[in-house]
């Protein structure tokens, strides 16, 4: 049977890489921001300013654009890997390598964003959890789902 946790992790990755908000009911929306700072929202794909104007990762200044593009491509890569490593037919040895790679890359992303969040909230640490967005937790969920898939794969062997 396909490892569902891996496939779900991949889908969440694509959602984070492309989508800003998911509507739930009427005016209730889930914002997929990683964190916010002085009413600017930071997403994997770019930023949204206070006035609702959005900037993509390529419109940022150098070298931020290259760094942001690298992070975005890493997330796309992790999402593809996560989906491709999960079908029943996939080679277990290759899948294990991909899950390990995914765990490493997602951990790097999480560490970098954690450092950014700590730096931006340094003057008011109490506001940290208020400023962290659902995107950050979903990134952590991708890491957990990849680790779960890896464990399932190891148990299956």
């Amino acid at each position: 049977m396909a490892r569902k946790s891996g496939i779900i992790g991949g889908i969440i990755g694509f959602v984070l890489a492309l989508i800003a908000e998911i509507p739930i009911y009427q005016n209730i929306v889930i914002s997929l921001k990683i964190y916010s700072f002085k009413s600017t929202e930071f997403y994997i794909w770019g930023i949204v300013l206070n006035n609702g104007e959005g900037f993509g990762l390529l419109r940022l200044i150098f070298p931020e654009n290259i760094i942001a593009l690298t992070f975005w491509l890493i997330l796309i890569f992790v999402s593809f890997n996560s989906i491709f490593a999960s079908p029943k037919k996939s080679n277990p040895r290759n899948s294990l390598k991909l899950y390990n790679l995914n765990t490493l890359l997602t951990s790097i992303l999480l560490i970098v964003y954690t450092i950014q969040i700590i730096i931006t909230n340094f003057s008011n640490i109490g506001a940290t959890f208020f400023n962290i967005g659902i995107g950050y937790y979903l990134l952590a969920l991708i890491l957990v789902l990849n680790m779960m898939s890896k464990n399932t794969l190891k148990k299956g062997e």
Binding site: L18, A20, E21, P23, G54, G56, L57
Partner: protein, 180 residues
Amino acid sequence: MNKFAFISGLLTLLLSFFQFIPLGIIFGSTGSMSNWLFTYFGLNNPFMSYYTTISLELMTIGNYQIFLWGILYNGTLYTWLEVHMISFVFLFLFSFIAIITTFIASGKENKLGKRMAILNLIFISVIIGYFLVGIPFYSNIITGIELGYFGIFFYLNFGFYILLLDLILSIISPIKHPMN
């Protein structure tokens, strides 16, 4: 499944039929996509809008944006069929055939699949070759601007780099093709 061929096919599909990749998608009844859906299909609610985009144009010269499917001039779309027949064949038709071959290659784990992966590599190589040689050659006819053979490198855009990635994947795909 040949995953390299599959991703190569997805990239060719994006370049051949899309103007951009929307980023920061939001769902609602406003925005250019919703307006387009309302104008042409009468659908008004709810559909997606977006904050920003990654453009898939291969190059930009003056007011001309060149894609695999055609050109955009001052906000008006023209397909290669309307502008230049040779470019239509080498850029759009070849990429369309490349999409078909690459998806067959990704699904078939046998000799046919491998042949299709090789065919895809040939098509992508021809597309890149034509773009680098043919577009500067015909640039005066297409855009009215004379381009030197090395001049094209000053105008390349994000789509070209995606096409290069596509070429790299299509080189790997026949080598790594799984055989049952």
